[in-house]
Symmetry: C2
Subunit: 337 residues, 2 copies
DNA sequence: CTGTTAGCGCGTTCAA
DNA sequence: TTGAACGCGCTAACAG
């Protein structure tokens, strides 16, 4: 293994000079620089990052805590984060937490051992108190979900507003019997979307029925969406529109309707959330609230990097724009009450 | 920051003793051990991995080169690799290569700088010669795709045999006009599957038509599958079966058929490859050749770890079993020639 | 503009 | 069974 010492010897200079050239810190005479560069070439020297990172006391690794890599929603966020940090010379380690506090804790503990310089969390299952202890010690950014009790860095869309717009759209179409498929998970986005659904209906004096509110599996599985939709579609009176808090759920609802002999959107309108690829695979293409996933990732990464760089002051809240994308699965109800 | 020195001082022993206890190397008197453990607790000491890794000259990081994280096929492989290495205390860094040689080279160069201890590649775009130079220097495993010119560690299924069985199944159903949607990429699996398709038809004396062989996009996009299927379905005579080398392609083919007013499997049989989740989302559920993705990942990880551990001798080739899963998209042709 | 030198925190001889 | 001491490769004072 060739070290900086070998290069120095070969070039007839001191290690300090080589280091200066390598890191572009301090001035070095052009002629000397040339000799050093030649030596580096000749010995095909590569700096040992293990030593450098140790010396600098930084790992150049960042951690990403993700509840479930399998979920296509997260994939583009991961891509966004990865692109930013790769450019910066950092490695991103993805940790699958499965929403288990132990797993999350285990990952976070790595920060204490200098295994990573910072962390981006897609979801948090720890108590606000425990979570805060980590956030106080290490650079940390919450992406897409966040703890509302804490004033920590976060990047997300405005879930409440986005849902409100979606429901208003349904109302403007003439729908009055509007159901929702929420989730049994505890995410803030889930609560916000449900609350916006309730509030908006109330604002329009539309009566709510508990039977119109279903909760699919915590991970928004297609199967559970299909099952809950079937429950909804066999309710009397049947809803004319179903607002699903994820596209996978919406896909399940569309299939459920078809299996029961209903047409989408003629007999029932279905709208989703996120705008993952599947929404435009089959007809009817699904009307949905799009999230800027890749940008969510990029912004989170940039926010984390400014924290890592010890920027004294950094943005705490980044809210990115959502967009209601009207496609084929929504239409006015055939029968108006 | 509390170091091993602080612990030693607190416990009234030398750093060597603390280190011995920490790493379970050498014997330490129970009473001393207790004192040290107490000191560690009291100071809530955490070993600095930066220093440890530097000293041991290992990064405890492994690299995964993946052409495209977005592809659901890779996700379970990644999960398998991640599970194995997490248990071993390693971090896995996923690198998206987009099948670009520069990106791949860039990632591989990180090994020279001790940024990672080994690498698993899902695909390789470098020349055999250049690739070999890396493989000779560093622990390396090829997962799912591999360079047939080199005798390097690899884990995959038998693509040729799997395809042969799929085609034989179609023949046994009575199909004679069998088309294929391959890909324009250069993967070994693509070649193998196409060759097996050709060879098997020839073995059954079934005439081949160039018009029955289509090449979808390099990344098996749904859209390109749909487009190529439409070309196939407007060919005269129309094929009665389409063998697709990926499930996404098969999904595209099913939709294409439906859009053209054909029923699957009555009018045309479609079979896919990989067995990703989507195959059982919509009816008809898709007949496909299943790959044990998670296990592919696990085996690759284990193989890499034995290499990293300097095991003098390790397995070079691991071939995992595939399985033809017959579902709803395949049936005998209505009209026999 | 360049060289000398002191550690960073840890694991590991070697001697006791 | 334990401790003293060295050095891994690098960066950054500091002196010149």
């Amino acid at each position: 293994m060739t070290t900086i010492k070998d290069v120095a010897q070969e070039a007839g200079v001191s290690v300090a000079t080589v280091s200066r050239l390598l890191n572009d810190t301090g001035v070095v005479h052009p002629e000397t620089a040339a000799r050093v560069t030649a030596a580096i070439q000749k010995l095909s020297y590569e700096p040992n990052l293990l030593a450098r990172n140790f010396r600098r006391s930084e790992s150049r690794v960042i951690l990403i805590l993700c509840p479930n890599i399998t979920n296509p929603y997260y994939v583009h966020i991961l891509a966004g984060i990865g692109d930013v940090f790769n450019e910066l010379g950092y490695s991103a380690v993805i940790f699958n937490t499965s929403d288990a506090p132990e797993r999350e804790r285990e990952a976070l503990e790595m920060l204490k051992r200098h295994r990573a310089d910072g962390v981006i969390l897609m979801a948090n299952t720890l108590s606000s108190q425990e979570f805060k202890e980590y956030a106080d010690q290490f650079p940390l950014v919450q992406c897409s979900e966040y703890d509302p009790n804490l004033q920590l860095a976060r990047v997300s869309i405005d879930n409440y507003l986005a849902t409100q717009e979606a429901i208003e759209y349904l109302v403007s179409l003439g729908h009055r019997r509007i159901a929702t498929i929420s989730s049994e998970n505890n995410y803030l986005s889930t609560h916000l979307r449900k609350q916006a659904y309730l509030d908006t209906l109330q604002r329009y004096n539309i009566s709510l029925s508990d039977e119109y509110i279903k909760h699919a599996s915590y991970d928004y599985s297609f199967k559970s969406g299909k099952m809950k939709a079937k429950e909804l579609l066999t309710t009397d009176p049947m809803p004319t529109a179903i607002f699903c808090i994820s596209d996978t759920l919406a896909l399940g609802a569309v299939i459920a309707a078809q299996e029961l002999g209903y047409r989408v959107p003629e007999d029932v309108t279905v709208i989703g959330f996120d705008d993952v690829e599947h929404t435009t695979m089959f007809h009817p293409f699904i009307t949905t609230v799009a999230q800027p996933c890749y940008e969510l990732g990029r912004h989170s990464a940039e926010l984390l990097f400014t924290q890592i760089s010890h920027a004294s002051d950094y943005t705490r809240e980044v809210v990115l724009p959502h967009q209601l994308i009207i496609r084929e699965s929504s239409a006015p109800p055939l029968i108006l009450d």
